[in-house]
């Protein structure tokens, strides 16, 4: 699946010219077809099978038309059967009315019993295809989001992404249905039906034909207001979703500040705005639908009037120039009903497409986001480190106005623990983000054994690194799953070893379910110190040659800190010629255990030995 999805993404990327959803024109709706085409293509074989499978159902309409004639003319009024009807029912053309009735009933029963399961199976098949397609779309959208830079992620709101991912992306079947399947099916059927009607009565055929431009007119007038109303609804509802997600993620603050009622009101407000927008959109859609439907119904009433007139006059105006029967009248109305309701359905579909169009454009808007600093992968597969990792005159800023790093240089040598020490906000975490290539520097370069890391294949480069991040991200999964995250084939023995190194051995032993213990959302049931060490165990287990630790001891007490630092040293000394440890810390006690310390202040780095750890206040950290 994932290989297919990469292909789809590549295929989709040339189309980048969709306007923002609030500036869409009706024509832009059609431009969505090429955008969704890669997803349709993936399932083209199934779509062809489906189309072929529909063919046996087509004569059904012919049989139904013939049966109307049988019931009303032959059975009801005693007229003789025509040849087709006689062949169909296996009776002579002048058979007894009771016999014809009996045969017609059996025929109807057999026809229905055969067609319904078949049609139902086809329906299920069609739904399956569309579901596969929507699923593919959803997964690709996720993969795409994952690919975007962290800057995008630090600004985008999760709730909004949830809404686009689930509600907006669900629009894709409508595009396929409304712009491809339905027109392919409806246009020929309507044309044929109008021709059939012309054989019966020109005026009835003319009414059917005149309905088309009228419906088109309604569709054209409403398209833009409908789009705007639907867009407003989606934006407002996404806002309400965002509010829930964000507030629940910060629930502790809400409670501590007694803001539950205020937050409820804010949500109720968002929700109300979403409902007002929804109501406006729905009412406009209802009005649109009612107009489309009333036009069609009035046309139908006209057809009844002229059809009945025609029968009363003995029917001479149609192409057939035959005397018209009651059965033919019923048949003509049936054909008229089919044609006109399809025209109306197209109109309604067009209304739905306005909603779907803005929805999908919102999705593509997110998919097409290419932040300027998007990290590009190189082509070289990096060898494991043999000598050192270096920052060479690296500068970086998140935005043009504030520089976070200014000409920072340092070397982290194989076999050594290198500490980056400095106060909070001095740029330590940014440095690590650059090292992971979450961002690329605005000036200078990062090298591994002298080679610029931008030349490396990103995937292989990151495989050399294992990292324990400062926020200790944990998944709602078992302890084991959280630890094996970086190396899924880790066996229990290795896991326990990593746990011991991270100073978690006692903690794990005390858990009744051991490694199988479920951690709550974001590790909610753990203390920060425990979460921190799980992140550490995860990094140890991954066993990549470069170990990066962002404040690995900040939440630990002195005894545990010592344990953890010994674990890190032990890990390094296992293969001192291959491994590099780099840790960012503000704690003197931790930095002191490093082989080499760089101090960072206001984005500038300088090397210091222990004695040069010379901030006057450092002395206060003596812990006795």
């Amino acid at each position: 699946m994932s290989i297919a999805s990469e292909k789809v993404l590549r295929d989709a990327s040339p189309f980048r010219a969709l306007p923002p959803p609030d500036k869409m024109s009706s024509g832009d709706i059609f431009r969505l077809v090429p955008r969704v085409w890669p997803f349709i293509r993936l399932f083209r074989r199934h779509l062809v099978y489906l189309a072929l499978a529909v063919i046996p159902l087509l004569p059904g309409g012919l049989f139904s038309l013939a049966l109307l004639g049988v019931f009303f003319d032959a059975v009801g009024q005693g007229n003789p059967l025509n040849r087709f009807q006689a062949w169909m029912l296996h009776v002579p053309m002048t058979a007894d009315r009771h016999v014809i009735l009996w045969h017609a009933c059996v025929f109807t029963g057999v026809l229905t019993v055969i067609t319904i399961p078949y049609a139902v199976a086809l329906l299920a098949y069609g739904i399956w295809i569309l579901q596969r397609m929507t699923n593919q779309f959803r997964v690709d959208l996720y993969s795409r989001l994952q690919e975007l830079s962290l800057r995008f992620h630090s600004e985008e709101k999760i709730g909004d992404a949830i809404f686009r991912m689930f509600q907006d992306s669900a629009a894709i079947p409508h595009i396929i249905n409304g712009l491809i399947i339905q027109p392919l099916h409806i246009v020929p059927v309507v044309l044929v039906n109008i021709l059939v009607l012309a054989a019966f009565d020109y005026r009835v055929a003319a009414i059917a034909a005149a309905l088309i431009p009228l419906e088109l007119l309604v569709a054209a007038v409403f398209a833009r207001p409908l789009r705007q109303a639907f867009l407003a609804e989606r934006v407002a509802t996404a806002q309400a979703t965002t509010r829930i997600e964000e507030t629940l993620a910060s629930i502790k603050a809400v409670k501590a500040f007694g803001r539950e009622a205020a937050e409820s009101d804010l949500y109720a407000h968002d929700n109300w705005a979403s409902f007002v927008a929804a109501r406006r959109a729905r009412m406009m859609f209802v009005l649109y639908r009612v107009l489309a439907s009333t036009l069609r119904s009035l046309a139908y009433v006209g057809a009844v009037y002229f059809g009945a007139m025609q029968v009363l006059h003995g029917g001479v105006t149609g192409a057939l120039r035959a005397v018209l029967s009651l059965g033919a009248f019923q048949g003509a109305l049936w054909v008229f009903g089919g044609a006109s309701s399809r025209v109306r359905n197209m109109t309604q579909m067009w209304g739905t497409l306005q909603d779907v169009g803005v929805a999908l454009t919102r999705v593509f808007e997110m998919m097409d986001k290419l932040p300027e600093e998007r990290v590009r992968t190189g082509s070289v597969v990096p060898p494991p480190p043999a000598c050192d990792f270096a920052f060479e005159q690296v500068s970086f800023s998140y935005d043009a106005r504030t520089e976070v790093l200014i000409g920072a240089s340092f070397h982290a040598k194989v076999g050594e623990i290198t500490a980056i020490a400095g106060p909070s906000g001095s740029g330590k975490s940014t440095l690590i983000a650059l090292l992971l290539r979450f961002f690329d520097p605005t000036a200078g370069r990062l090298t591994l054994d002298g080679q610029d890391i931008r030349t490396f294949k990103l995937e292989n480069y990151r495989a050399l690194i294992s990292v324990a991040l400062q926020e200790n991200p944990l998944f709602t999964a078992t302890l084991r799953d959280n630890i094996v995250y970086g190396r899924v084939d880790g066996v229990d023995e290795e896991i326990l070893h990593a746990i011991a190194r991270a100073g978690l051995a006692d903690f794990t032993r005390a858990l009744p379910a051991g490694l199988a213990t479920m951690l709550g959302e974001k590790g909610a049931k753990l203390s920060t110190g425990q979460a921190q060490r799980i992140g550490l165990a995860r990094a140890f287990l991954r066993d990549a040659p470069i170990l990066i630790l962002d404040e690995p001891t900040s939440a630990l007490d002195a005894a545990t800190e010592d344990l953890v630092m010994r674990g890190i040293r032990e890990w390094l000394d296992e293969r001192p010629r291959e491994r590099i440890v780099l840790l960012a810390t503000h704690r003197r006690s931790t930095a002191m255990l490093a082989d080499r310390i760089y101090q960072i202040a206001q984005g500038r780095l300088r090397e210091s030995d222990d004695s040069a750890f010379d901030e006057p206040r450092i002395a206060e950290v003596s812990n006795g």
Partner: protein, 670 residues
């Protein structure tokens, strides 16, 4: 808006009565009951619980029901024009029966005049109601073309309204339905959301945010479906059935088989529905579970995206999302497959009924007992007799899917405690003293993490709670503002049992700074003012200054107006921490509790902060949870805990002298 919320809360709060005992911090069994099959009494209970949300909009309910039911009466006239056209216009039989009484005085016997009259009548009804032999068509832009799963589907369901009609009547009816559905849904959503906000902190631990979002946004829509399918539709169906029955017996007293045949659909659908109800329910429930699961999987992955990137797990996570997403789709497909299987199974008996009716009626035509127009009329009335009966029979089966959603909604309202539901009303006044007596705290029914802890805090004192990681320190401090409820022991504030205090009053006086700080993606100013929205700029700046945040904020290009990214992204952890401290200080609390405030700070900032706290503490209670020796030595009194129990209480110097575990705790690693 505030009044609206206030009006909604009672709707949900009386529901809390079913779970009277205070659940301390138990979590894992929160939604356990959802895994059971839904029983019949349980379903009835859910209906009863849902009713107050409709009763709150009684006038709209009555209006909607009145329009829906009375418009059904119009529906009964619809077969007549075609009968008249066939019999009296084309076949030239004279008018008879009910239409003769109405039409003869107006148009006489002329067939062309009759046709014109019918034409005018039809045109008027079309404009009024849209009648033209159309199938009723719900206003629903979300469904209709398949290919969706539960997570993609029901977002818009809350906003759907329907009418059997087009035309003017349809327009009016739909607008009333929209109004009703939306108001009910909004109330329910707000009630669920509020409950999530008010659940005790420990309880929230096991929740997935994606699941909560799903329950609020998607599951809530089920309530309207339950009402329309379970209450309104059967009433309308029964009305139509009886009216059609009256007309058929009045016009065709010698055709008893048509009503009997129509009515026989009731047991047929009821038996089919009852047999499959359980399957429907279980499938629908799985569908919702999987839908909420994919949402939770997605949410969690987006929240942890930097870990995924750092570990090169993108491909694996795409596969995880794919798996979760497809399992949601396939659950939906299975549900649809069951409905389709039902259709296939029920086709032969229903077909037999229709063909039987056709055979019988055309035989009557051949034998000249009725006319062709009568056939059209009787087949239409047959449908009007049969369809409602079928619907009544299928009510139970139809209810299964929405009821499973309603259960997910009410398991929040029933099982998640409102931590303010048993609120006291006492106001502690300015807090001068907090005592903990033999307090124990347990999660999950697991062994307590805090056992039998007693200590007290006084105003004017800078106190610390210290101990190895995992000692239960965070649980203890969370119990003071009653974020979690101790399972034994009591907390006394100013001599009053904390359970008798109002949450509002208690929390208003306590400033809290959490360990992993939660900031909002709003401006820095709004974050600092969070607890006191009407604080002045000067107050805000002063709080930021005391918290040591002013310098770096002033250095930002937009200063206090800087909008933070998602959860404060792009500030360093230490900076977030200081904003959080400013946020707590601006409320000028009597008690300030800080969980590891100095952990992310460098020694310089730590010393600054401790100086500040020392000043603050001169007329307040300040409690710091910390590991750091530098912080501890600044405090007046240290409560030293290990493994959920208090080991010793005293000043830093005393503990160093007399407490071996404390010495051990501090001295290693230096």
């Amino acid at each position: 808006m505030a009044e609206r919320t206030a009006a909604i809360l009672p709707l949900a709060s009386h529901l809390n009565g079913t779970a009277p005992e205070e659940r301390d911090a138990r979590t894992s069994d929160l939604y356990a009951s959802e895994r059971d099959s839904l029983s019949f009494p349980e379903a009835l209970r859910l209906l009863r619980k849902g009713w107050p949300f409709f009763a709150a909009h009684r006038r709209l309910v009555i209006l909607k029901a009145a329009i829906a039911i009375s418009s059904m009466l119009l529906f009964l006239i619809t077969p007549w024009p075609m009968k008249i056209i066939i019999d009296n216009i084309i076949d030239a039989h004279p008018l008879s029966g009910i239409p003769a009484r109405i039409l003869l005085p107006i148009v006489g016997t002329d067939r062309f005049a009759l046709l014109t009259a019918i034409f005018v009548f039809l045109a008027i009804t079309v404009v009024l109601t849209g009648i033209s032999g159309d199938d009723p068509y719900p206003v629903d832009t979300e469904t209709g073309s398949g290919g969706l799963d539960q997570a993609g589907q029901s977002g818009g369901a809350a906003n759907n309204g329907w009418s059997l009609w087009n035309g003017l009547l349809g327009f009016i009816e739909t607008s009333i339905t929209l109004e009703l559905s939306q108001r009910v849904n909004q109330d329910l959503r707000t009630a669920i959301y509020t409950r999530f906000l008010r659940s005790p902190l420990g309880l929230y631990g096991d929740q997935k945010i994606g699941d909560a979002v799903f329950r609020v946004m998607n599951d809530s829509a089920a309530i309207n479906e339950v009402f329309y399918r379970g209450v309104l539709a059967p009433i309308m169906s029964i009305t139509v059935f009886f009216c059609a029955l009256v007309i058929v017996t009045a016009q065709f007293s010698n055709e008893p088989w048509i009503p009997i045949g129509g009515a026989s659909l009731l047991p047929l659908m009821a038996i089919g529905g009852a047999l499959f109800a359980r399957v429907f329910r279980d499938r629908a429930q799985t569908m919702r579970e999987r839908g909420s699961n994919i949402m939770a999987v997605f949410e969690e992955r987006l929240a942890n995206v930097n870990l995924i990137k750092a570990y090169g797990a993108e491909r694996r996570e795409s596969q995880n999302v794919d798996r979760a997403s497809w399992s949601s789709y396939s659950a939906t497909l299975k549900f649809i497959a069951f409905i389709l299987a039902m259709i296939v199974i029920l086709t032969p008996p229903i077909l037999l009924l229709i063909i039987g009716a056709l055979y019988h009626l055309f035989n009557e035509v051949i034998d000249k007992r009725i006319t062709l127009g009568d056939v059209v009329l009787l087949m239409s009335y047959g449908t009007m007799l049969a369809r409602p009966m079928g619907e009544v029979g299928a009510v139970w089966a139809n209810l299964q899917a929405p009821i499973s959603g309603l259960r997910r909604v009410f398991s929040v309202l029933d099982r998640l405690n409102d931590d303010q539901a048993r609120d006291g009303d006492a106001d502690p006044g300015a807090i001068k003293r907090i005592e903990l007596h033999n307090v124990s705290i347990a999660y999950d029914g697991a062994p307590p993490v805090v056992r039998d802890v007693s200590f007290e805090l006084h105003s004017g004192e800078l106190a610390a709670l210290a101990g190895p990681s995992g000692a239960g320190k965070t649980s203890l401090i969370n119990s003071i503002p009653r974020f979690i409820q101790p399972c034994a022991g009591e907390i006394i504030v100013n001599g009053i049992d904390a359970r008798r205090l109002s949450h509002q009053a208690l929390r208003r006086r306590i400033g809290f700074v959490f360990q992993q700080e939660a900031l909002f993606s709003r401006s820095i100013a709004d974050n600092i003012r969070y607890g006191v929205p009407d604080a002045t700029d000067a107050q805000m700046r002063e709080a930021a200054r005391i918290a040591g945040a002013a310098d770096f904020i002033e250095a930002l290009p937009e200063k206090y107006a800087t909008v933070l990214g998602r959860r404060g992204a792009r500030l360093s952890v230490g900076q977030k921490q200081r904003i959080a401290i400013a946020r707590a200080l601006i409320r000028n609390p009597d008690v300030l509790v800080l969980d590891e405030p100095t952990a992310p700070l460098d020694p310089g900032s730590e010393a600054d902060l401790m100086r500040t706290l020392r000043e603050i503490a001169h007329d307040r209670i300040v409690l710091i949870v910390t590991h750091r020796a530098g912080t501890l030595s600044e405090c007046d009194r240290i409560v030293f805990a290990s493994d959920g129990m208090i080991i010793a209480i005293g000043s830093d110097a005393e503990l160093r002298r007399s407490c071996a575990p404390y010495r051990e705790y501090l001295s290693i690693g230096l």
